[in-house]
């Protein structure tokens, strides 16, 4: 089964005129709400380890996660939420590593991103509207 969050899933899987027709269709001229979140992380020594040792294993619990190597960065998309625990990352990396060290290399987010304790969280939830902004882990 194709992951609907994959980099070229859906309309982008089509080519040429088929792509243009679907892209410009009446159905696609209005916004459809999405429960996905997107992350782009710069390739660095630490981030490559976090991708291999923390993000890829998340697929066991959340098979909607899509991970793409896009040259200088990793592109990640998932339904719901992604949590990166930097205490766990510090243990794996073998050095002090806080959530603010992680943020040195998080290049973009689509969704509601935040720090909670030493965790980085990106969620589809509308924090501040549907729920309060969490203050501690």
């Amino acid at each position: 089964m194709t992951n609907s969050n994959a980099y070229n899933a859906g309309t982008n899987g089509k080519e040429g005129q088929s792509f243009i027709d679907e892209f410009l269709s009446k159905e696609n001229s209005v916004i459809h709400s999405s429960d996905a979140v997107v992350l782009a992380m710069m390739k660095t020594e630490e981030i490559d380890v976090i991708i291999d040792e923390m993000i890829k294993p998340m697929l066991v619990d959340n098979p909607t996660i899509a991970i793409e190597d896009r040259g200088g960065y990793w592109w990640i998309k998932a339904t719901g939420k992604i949590v990166i625990d930097c205490d766990e990352a510090a243990e794996i990396l073998g050095k002090r590593y806080t959530v603010y060290d992680l943020l040195v290399n998080v290049s973009t987010t689509i969704g509601r991103a935040m720090t909670v304790g030493n965790q980085f969280i990106i969620t589809t939830e509308l924090v501040g509207l549907e729920s309060a902004v969490p203050t501690s882990a």
Partner: protein
């Protein structure tokens, strides 16, 4: 691998890492030191009611912010100054890409300047301590980004084999036909008007939407075209943008529960989206597809992913429950995403002496790529380029200029008064539906009804003198010289219609053409439809 993570988690739970006071506890404590709202005055009041209890999602303290940013700087400049210099990275870049970065980095720098002011006025307007904290960090970020974008041009100016334009592009701001569009979207859009509207322009649309293709996915194109500098710098810039996106979201959170907000919010959002889209959609598309030798994917697909499916779906779509609707201009924006950059590039080729960069007509390989991804491209644009090439587009002795060919063939170039960008009604395939209106004895051109509506609602906001009005009657070579469009020898043009190192055009070659700048509104006698 999953098993080893479980072991780590269990070990941490049993033996939590010793800690002193965490930075987030400090952040919480610092919120007690707040402003005295009763005596607080703002220079920039907003028509919206911003909630004083709005939060900041990243809980920054000055200490953690400074440490984080200094690590970014060390990593970025360390990479550029050491490793890449030894690899001679500046000279391994595809020439088309080295040229387009003269505009990309410079235009982005202009945007970062506007963003300093935009986030500063938001700091002044907001009353929530946490919200002020987020905006304040953004002001400092934007100063950093001005330095970073300038550094890209500096690096190219020092290491790339054709530095003209990387060293001095902004001196051409009076004649480059794109600069007024940059100023409209990045300048006026980011820092003028109501502060909340500025936040929507800058943070919710400019940053949360368009920086993803402009600053993130562009790095893939850069790397494919041999540019190892831009990915290092741009991906570092974008590590700050995610906090700015959160600032924009919290601006919406701070106002959306006030029923009065909905009087303005949809219109402000629609206008901001159209303002940013009008410049960024055609510009980014043209930069990627026409500024590259090696192409990654059609711009319309990138737009579909980053703008439509993810930004619109994840940000606006989720806010629909609070009354946010699809922008009325979305259908036209998508039409522009397919064809707008091809229209813009046609005008860039026609007006190349004013651009300050070396442009090259699409190769046979490029043409096949364009036709494969944009069926109908060849019949509409490709044939024109073949004719121009045969007429001597590249040859300094030919006396050929695309702009003259267009006028002689009845294709007038006009300046859209709202977006400040040029358009050609008779050759456009994007969502162009021109109109020509008169007000107080002056005539204005509009490329489509969305911008026309914005002008009709606030005409005083869009006052500017366009290129044709400003320079009507000036001879082209004299204008280029006085604007600073020549290289250090005082006669060879900065801009060229090819990327070869010989056969360079000089002021004399332009003078031979004997073009006096016309105002197409007069010579083609366009009139509003009766």
């Amino acid at each position: 691998m999953a098993g080893s993570n479980t072991a780590v988690k269990e070990a941490l739970k049993a033996h939590p890492a010793p800690s002193s006071v965490s930075s987030q506890e400090v952040h919480k404590w610092l919120q007690d030191f707040t402003w005295e709202f009763k005596s607080n005055r703002t220079k920039y009041p907003t028509k919206y009611n911003m909630d004083n209890n709005t939060r900041e999602q990243f809980k920054l303290t000055a200490k953690e912010y400074a440490r984080m940013e200094s690590v970014k700087e060390e990593r970025q400049y360390g990479t550029l100054l050491d490793g890449l210099s030894r690899l001679d990275a500046g000279n391994k870049i595809a020439p088309q890409w080295g040229e387009i970065m003269k505009l990309v980095a410079n235009f982005l720098e202009t945007g970062e300047y506007g963003a300093i002011s935009g986030s500063a006025l938001l700091w002044d307007s907001a009353q929530s301590p946490e919200q002020k904290n987020g905006y304040l960090a953004q002001v400092i970020d934007e100063v950093r980004h001005v330095n970073q974008t300038a550094y890209v041009n500096y690096y190219f100016g020092k290491h790339y084999y054709d530095p003209a334009g990387h060293t001095n592009m902004r001196q051409l701001r009076a004649i480059n036909p794109l600069y007024p569009g940059v100023k409209r979207s990045f300048g006026e859009g980011f820092l003028a008007g109501d502060p909340v509207e500025s936040s929507i322009n800058l943070q919710l649309v400019g940053e949360a939407c368009f920086t993803n293709p402009l600053i993130v996915s562009i790095t893939e194109w850069a790397a494919a075209n041999g540019d190892e500098i831009t990915p290092t710098v741009f991906l570092s810039i974008e590590t700050d943008e995610l906090r700015h996106m959160a600032n924009g979201y919290q601006t919406i959170v701070s106002i959306v529960n006030d029923p009065e907000a909905m009087k303005y919010l949809q219109t402000d959002l629609d206008n901001a989206f159209w303002t940013q889209h009008k410049f960024l959609t055609p510009f980014i598309g043209a930069a990627l597809e026409y500024g590259s030798k090696y192409k990654v994917e059609p711009w319309a697909k990138s737009w579909n992913r980053w703008v439509y499916e993810d930004w619109a779906g994840i940000w606006l779509g989720r806010l629909a429950q609070f009354g946010i609707k699809s922008p009325a201009c979305l259908g036209d924006a998508k039409q522009d995403a397919v064809w707008g950059h091809h229209d813009l590039m046609l005008l860039a080729y026609a007006l190349w002496p004013l651009t300050g960069i070396r442009v090259s007509l699409p190769s046979t390989e490029d043409m096949a790529w364009f036709e494969r991804h944009y069926p109908g491209w060849y019949d509409h644009y490709g044939k024109i380029y073949e004719e121009w090439k045969a007429l001597g587009f590249e040859d300094p002795n030919s006396g050929f200029l695309g702009a003259i060919w267009m006028m002689q063939n009845g294709h007038g170039i006009f300046v859209d008064h709202t977006s400040s960008l040029p358009f050609c009604p008779t050759l456009a395939k994007s969502a162009v539906r021109p109109s020509f209106l008169e007000s107080n004895g002056k005539r204005y051109a509009f490329s489509e009804p969305h911008g026309e509506r914005m002008w009709l609602q606030e005409p005083e906001r869009y006052e500017f003198v366009n290129f044709f009005e400003q320079f009507e009657g000036r001879e082209l070579s004299e204008l280029i010289q006085s604007a600073g469009g020549v290289r250090s020898d005082g006669k060879t043009l900065m801009a060229q219609p090819h990327v070869n190192t010989t056969g360079l055009w000089t002021l004399d070659d332009i003078k031979k053409i004997n073009l006096t700048i016309p105002d197409p509104m007069k010579i083609l006698n366009w009139q509003p439809t009766q």
